[in-house]
Every structure is written in structure tokens, then in C-alpha cells.
Amino acid sequence: MNRVAIIGGGVAGLSAAISLERRGVPSIIVEREEALGGLCGELGCKGVERCVRCDVCLARDMVAQARSSPLIERLGRAELRSVSGQPGDFRLAIRVGGQGHRLVRAAVIVCATGGEPFDAHLDKRLGYDELADVVTSLDLERQLSAEGRFLVPSTSAPPKKVAFILCVGSRDERFNTSYCSKACCKYSFKLAQGLRAIDPGCAITIFFMDWRLYDPRENVRAWASGDSGVRLVRSRPAEVLLGEDSRPEVRFASEKDAIVEVEAFDAVVLSVGLRPARSAAELARTLQVETDAHGFLRSPKGEPCASTRPGVFLAGTCRGPKEIVECVKDGAEAASKAIAFMGGVG
């Protein structure tokens, strides 16, 4: 019984399951939450009439495909406890629904457990704790997902002036995250496009260090120069304080000359980066695979989606920060490697 066990039902795990299903290989998805979709499933669409290509709806499409396929078994509220056996014939002990146990046999394991957004509370200076109107990009995404619009938390009125601060918790040695989280440039750009589409009256200012958009068609500068309501400021704000009119004030080094500028906004969005999941270390021990210097599960150089142990493959943000489309590609690649490992059945 050559079946693939997929740990994690987010975009990467679903992509692996669907790619396997299209090639006739059965799989079982072990998902910790009740519903499939993972972190990407919680995010919201940022388009009104035009799609801004944030790819978030891929999660919804793939959940639908996975649920309609007889070859994909889905275990909700299920957690991997231990792995025994050897590559080609693993035995996975899984706790289902908090009480029962279930033993799953699989020839290959695809780990797609994903990463975790950076906890903005850790960066005290950006005022995420005290100021209600300082939100993370994830909070903004959840509101868009639920209602399709964003309201200022303290006044619950539509904002007229919003600031985005990029690289929160990324490229920052204080939190041992000296890497670029790769996806938050894209999603802040998309969120800004979304807010502009939803309410053209809402002006956007984006504080950035470097624009790292990996798809050449994403030209943030062309978009910003074509839209009077958007301002790009190359400066990494020092702190966000409560202004006298109880609106958050951003203090940042001016681009023009060596002075500190202070500007108030209705809301400040912290574009948080991605960190390894809290359970990553324990998962690495369970799967007997190595992690890299930052704590993500490690893929050997030049072999994407492989892990340091044969028969175990990695897909998605569990092996490093990436965009949604790349998670989908990871899933397809991990499925291909799994099939090659099982002797090329599909």
C-alpha cells in the first residue's frame, strides 16, 4: 500500500495532495485545525473588480478540489505524535480529535506544516501592544476575509490615511531573523492595492527598506507613480507612538535630509515576516530531519523540497519563507519527488 502521508493541510500540502491525485496516487492529509487551508486560508481577497494576483483564493480552490477527490483522505483536528518504520514503510501515530489514536502506514511523508507569522508584540517600539490602531498585516487580512473592508479598530470608521511598515521581524538581528521573509513585500503591495481599490479616498504611505518583488510583472514603483494616493518612503521607522489626537504617529528618518520626521496616520499596518513554527524543532526530531540556522526544516542545497532524510520531503513555508505560488510549486515538486522515490508509479 504505497500511500503518501501529508502533514499539514495548508496550500503546500493541498497542492501536493492534488498533484498526487492527478497522477493516480492516494494520499492522507493530517491537519491540526478543524478546516483545511492553513494560514493562507485565513487571508482575504484584495480585489474589487480587478484581481491584484495575491493568489490567496488558490487556498479556497484547492480545499474544494481536495474535498471532492476520493483519492485524498482528510483527517481534521489531527496531530502527528510519532513516526516509526523506515523510508518506504513509515508508521505514523496520529492523535485525532484530542482523544483517539490512529496508526497510518505510508511509503512517503510530505511535511507541509508551514511557518508562523512574526509576533509583533516582540517589537515593543512599534506599539503593537498599546496602540489599538496599530495592526499586523494578518489582522488586516482577517478583516478583509470576513467583511471585504478594513475599519480603524478604535473608531470603526473607514481609514483615510494608512501607513505600512515593511520588514517587521525580518532582516532584524534582534530577533534572530536576519533573513528576508520574501513574501511580505508582495503582500503589503497587494494589501495597499486592495485598500486603494476598496476606498480610493484612503491615502497609503509605505515605509520600506528594499523592494524585493520576485515577479518582474509586480512593478510597485510604476503603480505608485501612477496613483496620487500612494507614497513610497525609503526609511525604516524607529517607533510608533500615540499622538495627541489619539492617532498612531510614526517617527522615521526623512529621505530628504538628516532629520527625524513625525507623521500621524489613522492606522499603521505592520508587515510581519515569517518565522519557523514553534513546533518546528520538535517536528524535526519526530521526522528525524535537520533544521537550518534559522530553525526552518532544511532542504539540501540544489535539491528543492528534499529533506536531509530519504523518504521525507518538505513543501511550503516549513522549509523557508516564500510566496503562495511558490508553496503551490513546492507541493507539485514534493509530489514528483515522492513518486520518484516510490519507483515512479504515477
Partner: protein, 134 residues
């Protein structure tokens, strides 16, 4: 009882309809949804015939532009809606009773929004005069 007929692309909006169901998102029962393979499948004659059959308002629901599984089916759909609106204005029924909405597969709240928008239009414009004559 109002009658709002919606032609829905089965990919994006079809998914949003099921999601709205799963999340128990109420919307007026006056909205009845017909699923078509793509918004580009519906043509002007279908939209006009619906009004003759007594619809108070007709809606074409397609995916967001740029996110159509069939490349530009939703743009084709919008062209048909624009033409039909022009005819409805000339005929005297008013193009306001016909509208195109864009709904992504993860925007279930949009179904309730478009139902409310069309219901308010029908209240403002009154029922379809052809239905009244019946």
C-alpha cells in the same frame, strides 16, 4: 415577493456560494442562482428573456478580471451586460435592473452584498411592470 435571477460562473462565484452556505451567511431568498461554466457563456438574449419572464432584477456574477479560469470570460460577460443595459434603457425598463458583479471564491460575503444591493434597487424602481400585468 421579489424575483432576482443571477447567472453565476460556477468557478469563483459558485465556490463563494457554497462557502456562504457553509458559513450560514443569510441572504434574501428572492435571489435564485443559475450556474453556468463561465460568465462569458451568458448572452444578451438570455438576460433580456429573463426580464420578459418576470424577473425584477437580473445579475451576472463573474470572477474578478484577471482571475478567470477561461482567461477573459468575465470580460466577455461584462460586454454582454453593457449591451443589454443599453437595450433595457431604450426599451424603457431601465438598465438599472441589470448589473454585473465580480466575486472571488473566498468572498462569500459578496453574495449577500449583491443580493442586498439589487433588492434595494428593485424597491427603488418598483417591481417589473411586465410581471404586474400578468
Amino acid at each position: 415577493m421579489m424575483r432576482i435571477l443571477a447567472f453565476c460562473c460556477e468557478r469563483g462565484p459558485g465556490e463563494a456560494i457554497d462557502l456562504a452556505g457553509e458559513k450560514r451567511m443569510r441572504y434574501p431568498a428572492d435571489l435564485t442562482l443559475i450556474q453556468v461554466p463561465c460568465a462569458g457563456r451568458v448572452d444578451v438574449a438570455h438576460l433580456l428573456k429573463a426580464f420578459r419572464e418576470g424577473a425584477d432584477a437580473v445579475v451576472l456574477v463573474g470572477c474578478l478580471e484577471g482571475n478567470c479560469h477561461h482567461i477573459y470570460g468575465n470580460i466577455e460577460g461584462r460586454k454582454k451586460v453593457d449591451r443589454a443595459k443599453q437595450i433595457l434603457d431604450e426599451v424603457g425598463l431601465g438598465g438599472q435592473r441589470l448589473e454585473m458583479f465580480h466575486v472571488a471564491s473566498n468572498q462569500p460575503f459578496r453574495i449577500a452584498e449583491l443580493a442586498a444591493e439589487m433588492a434595494s434597487r428593485v424597491e427603488r424602481l418598483g417591481p417589473n411592470p411586465l410581471a404586474v400585468k400578468e
